[in-house]
């Protein structure tokens, strides 16, 4: 067991909660506006090949909706679940990028972000199982 400063720990968790919640919402919203980047280039042709033609143009907005919902869950009282959900979602995105090939820098970045979300979920778990002194 280890005794740590509760105030610092809570400041860290609160800050992470808002940043890690707002960023997926912002990136999810951009899936409708394409302001940051053209997100279509990140969807694997393999994914498109398994989908009906009527759904193909809506794949990126659907991804955006999932990200907005995941971000909103993080901002709600189910923060830990939301963090693990985003981490799992990033795992799927990494698999998608692997099938495109050549995007190794983005894959690595997504792995780092995945670890960030998983670590955040784990920190909340640590807080929930902690005892007060």
């Amino acid at each position: 067991m280890m005794i740590i400063d509760e105030r610092k720990f809570n400041i860290l968790l609160d800050t992470l909660k808002y940043i890690y919640g707002i960023v997926p919402i912002a990136i999810g919203l951009d899936k409708f506006f394409f302001y940051i980047v053209d997100w279509n280039i990140y969807v694997s042709p393999l994914v498109f090949s398994y989908l009906p033609m009527t759904i193909v143009p809506h794949v990126v907005p659907i991804v955006g909706i999932i990200e907005i919902i995941a971000g909103a869950i993080i901002l709600s009282k189910y923060t830990r679940f939301g963090a693990y959900l985003v981490a799992a979602w990033l795992g799927i995105i990494i698999l998608n990028l692997l099938t495109i090939g050549g995007m190794y820098d983005i894959i690595l970045r997504d792995i780092a972000i995945l670890v960030g979300y998983a670590a955040f979920g784990f920190l909340i778990e640590l807080k929930e199982t902690a005892r007060q002194q």
Binding site: M1, D5, L12, V23, V115, A119, L126
Partner: protein, 126 residues
Amino acid sequence: MMIIDEKKFNRLWTISKYVLGLYQIITNIILFFMFHQKIISNNFILALYIMQTLLGIIILTYAPRLGAYMMAGLLTIPLLITISGLIRGSSILASQSIIFDPANLIIIFAYIMFGLLTELKETARQ
């Protein structure tokens, strides 16, 4: 004060240290092979790359906390340039997506989180 599971905390800290330390080093090696002409021709990007690689090594070796905070600071500079570029509609800055990526905000806070975790670890009592 709060009592937490030391074993779990240390496991999280060690995984974060290796992932965040190795991330910049491996990414920079990959990016160098992909965009070496772009990197070498721009002194600002080259300096940023060298500093990021060195900070990755510092995180993995003797000063994880200092390295993490410095890395967060260093990553903030291109992020601010990106945001200002996007607001002003500057396609030159926005197109430099190899380093100027708004999703880096998550990574910046991952480094801050790691720095604070190291601080908590250093000031913790058994």
